[in-house]
Subunit: 293 residues, 4 copies
């Protein structure tokens, strides 16, 4: 991973070789941004690349959009897209769709291309499965000028994440969010350790899939954030806390079944770069949660 | 529905005709309890019937147990059981089992009869589906003397509910519980009206079925308890509050998806005759619940 | 206490004798309202009296305002005011002021009379001590037309409370509020009984006086509302719950001093006719409150 | 401040000069502990000094206790006690007692000396004013053997704090606690910045004194703990949050006076070396707190 300092000193061909893939099939963005060196921060480098895109001809900008791969499209299935795109689509689960889901995406892709003459572009790392589909549908109803601006904004988001993963240095971009939790036992007045926690994503109104599992440590937290170091995908989630086992062990004499056994907290994420702290403050007969910090 | 006063005055045959079905296929319990008239309270009448059973011969008591129908058994399927039993088993959903579930009950019934020489007796109105099965399995592991006492206690519970439904008067039995809710909006400092609430019962670890739907009124409560006028079946439940729509309407500018949309509160019932008040105290970014009164 | 029905049937002199004191030194209001009989509701009677005032000449209305006694004024000290006014001022503690407080009121009364040519009129039952003074000061800064309308509105509020206390019947006025509480123990999942509760009113920024004491009953509530059957005076209050003793008794092994001993909830009342339910939901290490219903 | 490494290498006189004051008027403790060098941790050094005291003759140990200054005693008033003791007593406010309080201490000191033949010894940094007096009274009722052990334990606590302040190095002692807070706004789903927070200590049942003031920062916390870097004195406290101003600014249309203006959280500290996190989670109509971590 090159440092910003090294990129500031690198030969032009090395600079372009390092950053040519930040914009899909568009090494010319790096070629033009190189003129603005040196960059004091990673954000300044990103800004220079954005400026290069905005200063480009309409034809160049159109090509930039047109060369993006479709989501879950035939090219992606056949491996005929950029490596970064393969990884991004795989992270969103788009390489593991059912035939029905592929068919849904094919239909949406076709409708979009029909309407706008471009592939649908979305920074998939920022969206859960349900959000991806609902955003796709919402944007199909947009007008061409607005949609073009939206697509370009998504290109910049994709580029920011790629750049952030590629370059080390001061003044980085804010491309990651965080989901964390904390379990407090209000009978003991202490963090609750050893609580099994499961995070699920609601991929549709009726279907949730497990996306993380953890156990609280002595401080009532998980050793690592439930989601961290990347955008928290927009979507609806559910945290399940197996608090019943904890109170069975610490608070003999509770009835069976206990009033609280698995506590389920359903919540939505709308800001992928935000910090969502979702604590559970519980006794055997009560609990509360809130968006903390 | 006869009053206690009328029963105190009734001829012996009329008394027995009225109460002969309180104990399944055992009108002799009413025949013997009649001697203890008059009864000041319904509870005193129930106590006299219980005393008659306890003063009876071992053979009579054994027959009382032996004449009970099996749960979801062949006799129940064929309609060859007492009307009260039909209704009780139907209320517990035992008339709508899948073939696999029937087979499970048949196997449990056979194992129980093999081990104890009696049908399995349970006051089914006090149990949800999952509790019914887990109680059946737990009791199979009991020893004969304990199990006989447990079966007799269940017979008294069944009789109490039947008696309570049959006789009006002072000093009734406590055979019903209650499940209620209340939604408070802590942004407005007022009850939240118009909130759709769904109550589900978890019939297995992975499957929940809807058992009630309601909408909160101007006081943030449901017009009638979610469950009332009967025992609250032992089991695991989930209340779903569609609070997102309320805050969308009253609190413009919330992100989409909202932090809180459907709030799900999972809780267990262990005391069918208790009052479970399960309020939701919520803002768009926090909520709490507790067992209230 | 006459019923509305009796007043509808009464002779004119009896009607006026009964209601002549509703407006201070102004029996003419009753004399004119009598024409509008019969009244279907107490509210309709009140409305007729208000209409009589509004239809009166400016001179009559001015006299109505001018004949009101000053708050804590010399006439009140000397007993030279209407009996209802004596009781109302006494309820607000205005008969037990220190010399300094009397002096403060004398100064305010003089300033008000200087500026507006009228006595300061306020429905004192709706104000706590601090609110009474701050309202007095705020109204001194008002302009004459606004202030005259405000004074008249207060006259109607005083009349409504007097009428409500005087006449029984359908369709009464809403002249009373309520302050209630409820203590829940989230370790036991039950109401907390036997909790000593003290209600204080903050009469200044640094001084609070006890206005009620109670002990919670088996349902965790007080047998009667802390304030009820009258307006809840506008002001700042504090509820003190002696919860430490409860948890010492039920939860051995807590440290001394306990984390929670006396829980103090400070809250304001702005709507004297509202219902303020201020519950305490507590464990030894946590608590919450909210405006409930 | 010498490092542990330097003390391990120091000449014996230098070692004793550095640590001779850790035990009041008892440089012999350091003289004997020096034999156990080198010490891997500060805790090991403390343990060696404790062992030296425990291995000493009864006469030496008695002298160690006898040479301690009385609390708020004549010697302390006259400045005739060790510098560390002067600072410790001043931190507890014992240098600013009223004449009545001095008299109270004199009486207790005299009673204690009468009963046990020793000065009363307490690690004053671990006690608030009220706790100091109640502990004094409780220990007066103890028996001589228990009391002697208690006094010695206090001597070790005093020594631990002095040592911790004196020596840098690995494996330090746990002689400090922490009191922190955090304000969350559940209407905005964000930390509440700019909230004025006052910490008071209840020095008697009716009198509280301010011990700290702070304002919350952008993360809803105070820049420094309210108490930190020292033991949190045992006692009863109150945190006052001026939350009303915050909601007035962010939530127009609230009534005056608001339901919540100054939120007062009263809590006790029993573990001076613990971390007490006391958050406020609030909307204009509700709040909650708990001992967090």
């Amino acid at each position: 991973m090159p440092s910003l300092a090294a990129l500031n000193e690198a030969s032009r061909p090395d600079f372009v070789a390092a950053l040519g893939g930040v914009f899909e099939h568009a090494p010319w963005v790096a070629e033009r941004a190189v003129e603005a060196r040196p960059f004091a921060t990673v954000a300044a480098l990103a800004e220079a690349m954005r400026a290069a895109v905005e200063a480009a001809s309409d034809a160049d900008r159109h090509a930039l959009l047109a060369n993006h791969p479709e989501l879950a499209g035939r090219a992606a299935r056949d491996g005929a897209i950029a490596l970064d795109s393969i990884a991004e689509q795989a992270a969103a689960g788009l390489d593991r769709l059912s035939e029905a889901e592929y068919a849904r995406f094919e239909a949406l892709n076709a409708a979009y291309r029909d309407r706008f003459g471009l592939p649908f572009i979305l920074c998939v790392k920022r969206h859960g499965r349900a959000s991806l589909l609902s955003t796709f549908e919402a944007r199909l109803a947009s007008d061409p000028a607005t949609e073009r601006a939206t697509a370009l904004a998504e290109v910049f988001r994709i580029a920011a994440i790629r750049l952030d993963a590629l370059v080390t240095g001061e003044g980085g971009l804010k491309t990651t969010g965080r989901l964390s939790t904390h379990v407090l036992d209000t009978v003991a007045g202490r963090p609750a350790a050893g609580i099994a926690v499961t995070l699920l994503e609601w991929v549709s109104d009726t279907h949730a899939v497990v996306v993380a599992r953890a156990v609280t440590n002595a401080d009532g937290r998980t050793d690592a954030p439930l989601i961290g170091g990347r955008p928290v995908p927009i979507g609806a989630y559910e945290l399940r806390f197996h608090i019943g086992d904890h109170f069975r062990a610490t608070h003999p004499g509770l009835p069976e079944p206990p009033f609280l056994d698995i506590v389920a907290i359903r919540f939505g994420i709308a800001d992928p770069e935000g910090h969502y702290h979702v604590p559970l403050v519980a006794s055997p007969w009560s609990y509360q949660t809130y968006r903390g910090s």
